[in-house]
């Protein structure tokens, strides 16, 4: 039962253009969402997050959008840079019970080309 889904396993974008990574979730109890970035042979690193009370959160070149009614979120990277090439994981959490437990998607590999 995949509660967090990233349906695009890979994405290729030209340097300077916008990268849009998508994520869908099925569990309506999720109310906090995060994006993690992973380089080869390293652990994931936190990138940006959004609470369900918001529909947008921005941090520099990175913006996350949340559409609760559609159970969909997206990460926009503008402009894309070669150093952004990595695997991006969407993760979700509910604040009840084991409060900080994260459920991860399967990841999208982003390649930014010159």
């Amino acid at each position: 039962d995949q509660q967090v889904k990233q349906n695009s396993p890979s994405l290729s974008v030209q340097e300077g253009r916008i990268s849009i990574l998508n994520c869908d979730y099925t569990n309506s109890m999720f109310d906090y969402f995060l994006w993690y970035k992973k380089y080869p042979a390293e652990g994931p690193t936190f990138l940006i997050s959004i609470s369900s009370i918001k529909d947008k959160n921005e941090d520099g070149r990175f913006t996350v959008f949340l559409n609760k009614s559609a159970k969909h979120l997206s990460l926009h990277i503008v402009p894309s840079q070669p150093g952004d090439s990595a695997v991006y994981f969407c993760a979700a959490s509910g604040r009840t019970g084991t409060a900080s437990k994260l459920t991860f998607g399967t990841g999208t590999r982003l390649q930014v080309t010159l």
Partner: protein, 115 residues
Amino acid sequence: EAGVAQSPRYKIIEKRQSVAFWCNPISGHATLYWYQQILGQGPKLLIQFQNNGVVDDSQLPKDRFSAERLKGVDSTLKIQPAKLEDSAVYLCASRSRTGLFGEQYFGPGTRLTVT
């Protein structure tokens, strides 16, 4: 500030053998997690500690996996006996009490190959 340390980085064992992984979280981080990441999948939580107590081990295959966090600092994850399907990267992560909700700091992982 030193990051999350894990060892070994790589391990190859035969099925039915035992293996142990070690994790040293960021100093002062009370919460520690062990994740299993199978190739092509996202990390899956195995166990979560708060100090030296277990908060969530609902996805830990307890017939073969065990974990402990003595004195609320370092942690070890053991598999005994290993199966072929245990081949994965085992990630340790930690989180501080005051950190942003959900923000976990991950170590580089241990890549386990069971043959």
